[in-house]
């Protein structure tokens, strides 16, 4: 969506929003909140320089929650992709009808009015919207260049699993009957490449094939890595995996690459999520003021970083976001809550309805090479598959691939093994966080070195 389309969408969505909230009141809602979105994009995927898929995306949606009943504590929701006035009316009626059958829940309702963002900020200051009027022809040319760089990199790269580009831009609106309306335009562009290698470079062989990929993803087109860089990185990563071996079962220290380290932070943040806390379905129950990491671990939330994927001035309930510490000197400072779980816990919302906004785990100062030396002999994990996490006990067991490291040097690729432990111990056994930060997501961390895990293999 270009700037003039965004402007039109902005006005139309404000009108729809007012209409929906008015209708909700008309059909008996004490309060209501909604989100609206509209966006458009283009994606192209090629395979061996032939276009595989050319896709035009155009989406819109309305999601409404109403609060009814004598205390305004009976909730109902409805969503629609059709924004005709008939569909909007049907959607409002559907939400109100549902609320006639749900039970009264004293914790439900809009976020507290005094916590909502005041109208004075402008989401444009976050600099999240940089549309790209990419044509299909340009998209094909870029992906061809990217894939060609990968396929031409080494004769052991025998096939492509596709190179793709996508650009999407749109606008999101959040509003409620406390008078809050927040609007945020944003864009996202991605370029990725995935190629297949075979250790003898034999195109007809189907054994010993390995695949890996690389991608670049940004809000600003100019910040994307070049097609050649993305292609070459995907080829290098694939080649590094050729000849992977299964190692024997053992205890070992494990170094997680930055991309994989993000998942460790994810397992921590879901454990301190308000929902996990009030349901008592977490391995870190009642952990505020508890030291769950070593002294040197600090984790922050910074919702206002310009051009970052997780940035926003308000959460999904309109609550104002602000910088905060989640972990200081290894000690948990607070949970991650929207107003519902906060009320269940007798606390205040932390502006996290809908998730966190840019988490940063501070580095302990070592480069990747220094971390390999610290690891000495152990397992460097670059891929995890499966979802073997028990959130209530912290038991952790996942499929892994990566490299065996001896005396600080990568020796050979490893595959078909698992890494296992308990997250409570794993968080305590972190010994370092690298400076090699991956900026491609809402959580920023370098490589994490964890001692004392179990590797199951041959």
């Amino acid at each position: 969506m270009n700037a003039s389309e965004i402007k039109i969408a902005n006005n139309e969505m404000r009108e729809v929003s007012e209409q929906v909230l008015k209708l909700a009141k008309k059909y008996g809602a004490a309060n209501a909140e909604l989100s609206l979105n509209r966006g458009a994009g283009l994606s192209v995927e090629i395979h061996k320089s032939q276009v595989d898929k050319l896709e035009y995306n155009r989406d819109q949606g309305l999601s409404l929650t109403v609060y009814m009943g004598k205390n305004g504590k009976n909730q109902g929701s409805a969503t629609t992709g059709d924004l005709s006035s008939q569909a909007i009316e049907d959607t409002v009626k559907a939400a109100c009808n549902i609320a006639k059958f749900t039970g009264e829940d004293k914790y439900t309702g809009l976020a507290d009015a005094d916590m909502m963002l005041s109208d004075s900020v402008n989401s444009d200051d976050l600099d999240l919207y940089h549309p790209w009027d990419l044509t299909a022809e340009q998209a094909i040319e870029i992906t061809r260049e990217c894939e060609a760089a990968a396929l031409g990199f080494d004769k052991r790269i025998i096939n492509s699993d596709g190179a793709s580009i996508s650009t999407y831009s749109g606008i999101g609106l959040i509003a409620n009957t406390n008078g809050f309306t927040g609007i945020m335009p944003s864009s996202r562009h991605s370029l990725s490449c995935s190629v297949i290698g075979q250790k003898d470079g034999d195109e007809t062989a189907t054994n010993d094939m390995q695949r890996d990929y690389w991608y670049s993803s940004t809000r600003v087109r100019a910040e994307l890595e070049s097609p050649e860089v993305v292609g070459i990185k995907s080829a290098e990563r694939t080649l590094a995996r050729l000849g992977g071996e299964k190692i024997s079962t053992r205890k070992a220290n494990v170094l997680y690459s930055p991309e994989m380290s993000r998942s460790i932070i994810g397992h921590f943040t879901s454990a301190i999520g308000g929902g996990s806390q009030y349901r008592k379905s977490t391995y870190l129950l009642d952990c505020v003021d508890e030291k769950v990491f070593p002294d040197f671990i600090h984790l922050h939330e910074q919702p206002h970083i310009k051009q970052a994927f997780g940035s926003s001035y308000f959460d999904k309930e309109g609550v104002a976001t602000s910088n905060r510490d989640l972990v200081v000197d290894g000690v948990v400072q607070n949970y991650i809550m929207g107003s519902y779980s906060a009320r269940q816990l007798g606390l205040k919302s932390t502006a996290n309805s809908g998730g966190t906004h840019n988490l940063t785990l501070d580095s302990t100062g070592q480069s990747f090479e220094e971390l390999l030396k610290m690891l000495g002999t152990g397992f460097y994990v670059t891929e995890l598959i499966g979802s073997g996490i028990n959130g209530i006990t912290g038991d952790y067991s996942r499929g892994a691939a990566g490299f065996w490291v001896e005396n600080g040097e990568i020796k050979f690729p490893v595959e078909e093994v698992t890494v296992a432990g308990n997250l409570k111990d794993m968080l305590q056994n972190i010994v370092a966080v690298g400076t090699d930060v991956d900026l491609r997501g809402g959580t920023r961390t370098g490589s994490i070195l964890i001692e004392g895990m179990t590797i199951a293999g041959a």
């Binding site: 039970g103 829940d105 979802s387 067991s397 199951a456």
Partner: protein, 483 residues
């Protein structure tokens, strides 16, 4: 029962409001001349869900979605656009965008589009609205019953969360050759999750079931009580679980849901798109031995009312029972139209898509292994030292290397031929092309799962089923902590 055919009902739902006519479809397809394959996928979906927690019906959602996806295929290339408006103008705009792919291949010859006589389809489920099979009060009563039964099952239950969800979907597929096919699909699901606490230890477990039925499926045969009891049983078992072993073990997999092994280890690797592109560890291996003698695996979309079943796939092809592996030998792939054509094969009725806003691709339906002759008790008795895994969470596979995982949520040690202590959940990892060569015993107790499976591929989710008899595998890596 409605007196209209599914095609008539779908036309009423999808064509009549916008007044879509044959001559309009002719004009839309005229923008896609020169296509090897072009189709319009009209869809409308009504979704409803209700959730209960802490004994309160906390939320409910109703959703209305509709739209049309327009696809044009030329050679290996696909152009695709979609719209959430079903109007002639929106169809024309989407067709022009999708045709961007075919500029080079256009031919001048235009033949008028005309609907052919509909092929007879054998419906595997009733077309009635599954959401209307129960009143709102009856739906809520189901959730309250789940809460009551779970709490009655054990004094250690501290939380019960229950959810029911249902979908009523109308689809209509028009292709450039004049074929017009429709399907009306019901799908319902119930999930119950409990948290138990005993002596300061907490565990949680979930179960559920469903299929292509109305919501009244859950009022029958004490299903809610059975789901609740099973969730509580599972959570209590895991309270006493000891650390799982680490390393290669003889593994006995229970019947039913552990069939996720087949879905991950071989199913995805046998989808036509990966094999056409040569990216699967199974590429070019039809006719080779990839499993032990006696192992036969099928993908069967034709079982009545199963969650993974479809009367026709999302390209209008009737579903089949496709043999993937017969007595240990790889027989064939699962195909959609595009990949079948490029590989010189026929579609197997496995062309599926998440919605009108997604492109179809080869996907599984219900994937299972046929039963063998072994008594499940004898299978366990034959193991001196091993793992008996009977319930699983999710799984994942790397198609190219063939490495796959699936995570056990209920497992026991086998010691001297007897099932003994429960062990904590652990991920099992193996290599798809050879794991089934290590199957040494096949039970006579084929069972299909309860009907809650969801499969994700390339960002698209579709409902699927799995199944298998009890299986003994000589050597699979178990990812526990007891090295």
């Amino acid at each position: 029962m409605s007196t209209f055919s599914p095609l008539q009902q779908a036309q009423q739902q999808l064509f009549e409001p916008a007044g879509i006519t044959d001559s309009q479809l002719d004009k839309v397809f005229s923008h896609m001349q020169g296509a090897d394959l072009a189709d319009l996928y009209f869809q409308s979906t009504r979704f409803e869900s209700w959730g209960m927690e802490e004994g309160i019906i906390k939320n409910g959602t109703y959703s209305i979605e509709q739209g049309v996806g327009v696809r044009m295929v030329v050679g290996e290339q696909t152009g695709f656009a979609y719209s959430d408006e079903i109007t002639f103008d929106a169809l024309t705009a989407s067709a022009k965008a999708a045709a961007g792919i075919g500029k080079a291949g256009q031919t001048g010859k235009v033949k008028a589009w005309q609907a052919k006589e509909a092929t007879k389809i054998n419906p595997l489920y009733v077309a009635d609205n599954p959401l209307a099979a129960l009143s709102e009060d009856e739906k809520i009563a189901l959730l309250n019953l789940a809460d009551k039964e779970a709490r009655a099952a054990s004094p250690y239950v501290t939380q019960v969360m229950a959810n029911i969800a249902g979908v009523h979907e109308h689809i209509l597929i028009a292709d450039i050759d004049g074929n017009l096919n429709a399907d009306i699909r019901p799908l319902v699901r119930m999930n119950i999750t409990v948290i138990v606490e005993k002596d300061g230890k907490r565990e949680s477990a979930g179960t559920g079931g469903g299929g292509r039925y109305g919501f009244d499926y859950f009022t029958q045969a004490d299903r809610v009580r059975d789901y609740a009891n099973e969730a509580v049983r599972l959570a209590l078992v895991n309270l006493d679980a000891v650390a799982a072993p680490a390393g290669s073990q003889t593994v006995v997999l229970g019947s039913g849901w552990p069939g996720i092994l087949l879905h991950e280890a071989i199913g995805h690797g046998l989808e036509g798109d990966f094999n056409r592109k040569g990216t699967s560890a199974f590429s070019g291996r039809v006719g080779e031995t990839v499993a032990a003698k006696g192992v036969t695996v099928v993908d069967d979309g034709t079982i009545e009312n199963r969650r993974g079943s479809l009367s026709i796939d999302d390209e209008g092809t009737p579903t089949n029972c496709t043999t993937l592996i017969e007595n240990g030998v790889l027989k064939g792939y699962m195909q959609d139209k595009l990949n079948a054509r490029l590989m010189g094969e026929q579609s197997t009725g496995n062309g599926r898509r998440e919605s009108y806003a997604h492109l179809p691709m080869p996907r599984m339906t219900n994937t299972y292994m046929l039963p063998g002759n072994d008594d499940p008790e004898e299978i366990i008795a034959s193991v001196k030292d091993g793992l008996y895994a009977v319930n699983f969470g999710g799984g994942q596979v790397d198609i190219t290397s063939g490495k796959f995982v699936f995570s056990a949520s209920e497992a026991y040690l086998i010691e001297n031929g007897k099932v003994t202590k429960p062990v904590k959940g652990a991920t099992l990892i193996g290599n798809g092309p050879d794991v089934l060569t290590r199957v040494s015993m096949i039970g006579n107790d084929l069972e299909l799962d309860a009907g809650v499976g969801v499969c994700g591929k390339a960002g698209q989710s579709v409902p699927v089923g799995v199944g298998q008899p009890t299986l003994k595998i000589d050597g699979l890596t178990v990812g526990g902590t007891e090295a």
